[in-house]
Symmetry: C2
């Protein structure tokens, strides 16, 4: 029996690369077994929360896509960087220049964007044109004290037609060009994991994070005292099992198998 | 009298931001006084070499542009990263995937680019689309041991209509996404400065570098034992005079004034 599965009361699930692979005309495809795996977690009485860095769409839009794929999921169960950033901007009186995906823009409809005093970047994909990235750079360099807020810091993610550069790469480009350090909203920020736990009312040692991103999912969760399992789907690469800094509490072929282990452990407790 | 001007036998001139500002329909405009300043260096008997990180065009094309602006300059006097990279690729049997400006492509006409085993990035400007940067990323990640060669590592440069992101920002994006370190050809690489000195037949302590980039021109030259003066043109920003790591040997308003100081020092020796 896997040690990581003992005493778990709550599951934090990464979404892209664990539940589905994005891309293509349909916006992606469910990973085999994952739809049933989510249902089985629900049926088991374990608490469940989706903890995603997806910033290509509003949370509402994102949830509807997953429902179309067949997942049982509601907006209130999703911790995502868009809403977290919106709250941060409001709390600190920041007015963003946005370099994000068109589909994320409605998340900031009610946010004051006049006379920007910060830049917010998300996974803008095709919107990461030279012109747009350069514009964000110029806005930052015109500030007395540039503030860059990044929705996650992922290196890349997997779409149905291959690996794609994620927001982290462009965050690094702007950090270097402006000689600044970005503030990250989303995984691996401890605040992000802790707010997901608070919403479930559990302690770090009672939860398990399941993800395909060694640094952001596994390393991020572990830094909060949450155990974390890497699935061999999505952006997983074999070298992830021999990383110098981060070692997962478990490595499992996919979400369905992780849930098998989790539920058999629960049954034997 | 300025201490940096003493005992100078050879001048290394950065080009963009010192001789001219690039951009606009004419490809840029000479900085006032700089055409005469170059002529006066020539007339003084000082050795002269142009040491540029410009990688938006072949050396030939670049020199013809400067001649059009009125500068006396020949291709043999220019140390540029394109030809240096071409030599490096040949010496090491590397076949590049190129992410460069269209106008630099002819520099690599005779280079074998089949089945790439490295990626070369230059100042690709508008060619830094999400699609192109992502493609370079995928090529790198498909290599067993990814090799990224960057033509310079500048943060930004000045065009007539504002500051523009330079190759260094995209180098950092790819370094981060692939978890690798790029090899830099061009300033501030010591090899690059030393080959320029060798072509003039002078020692580091006999030369002066004049540039507008504190890190790449000033820091780079100083790391080779070459004195270096920052001009307050091009990408210069007042904060450059209070940098925690790099202090220029002199700060001068523009090239014309730097040459005034240099030649009056020479006259008084």
């Amino acid at each position: 029996m896997a040690a990581w599965a003992k005493g778990v009361r709550a599951v934090l699930l990464d979404v892209s690369g664990v539940l589905y692979d994005s891309g293509g005309p349909a916006g992606g495809a469910a990973i085999p077994g994952s739809i049933e795996a989510v249902s089985r977690i629900r049926g088991s009485g374990l608490k469940l929360r989706f903890c995603t860095n997806e910033s290509q769409a509003t949370r509402d839009h994102f949830v509807r896509k997953l429902q179309r794929f067949g997942f049982m999921i509601s907006e209130e169960e999703v911790t995502a960087p868009g809403p977290a950033a919106k709250k941060l901007l409001k709390d600190r009186g920041l007015r963003p220049h946005l370099l994000v995906h068109d589909d994320l823009l409605p998340e900031f409809d009610s946010t004051d964007k006049s006379d920007p005093n910060c830049v917010v970047i998300g996974d803008a994909a095709e919107n990461f044109s030279y012109q747009n990235v350069n514009h964000a750079f110029q806005v930052l360099l015109n500030m007395e004290k540039p503030i860059l807020i990044s929705l996650g810091k992922g290196r890349y993610y997997k779409e149905t037609d291959g690996l794609k550069l994620d927001v982290g790469a462009y965050m690094k480009a702007l950090e270097y060009a402006c000689d600044i350090t970005a503030e990250v909203v989303g995984k691996p920020s401890p605040n992000f994991f802790m707010s997901a736990l608070a919403e479930m009312g559990v302690k770090p040692e009672e939860a398990i994070m399941i993800g395909d991103d060694l640094i952001n999912d596994i390393g991020g969760a572990q830094s909060c005292g949450i155990k974390a399992v890497l699935v061999r789907t999505g952006k997983y690469r074999p070298t992830d099992e021999h990383h110098p800094d981060v070692t997962a509490d478990g490595y499992v072929d996919n979400l369905a198998l992780a849930v098998d282990i989790l539920l058999s452990s629960k049954g034997s407790q």
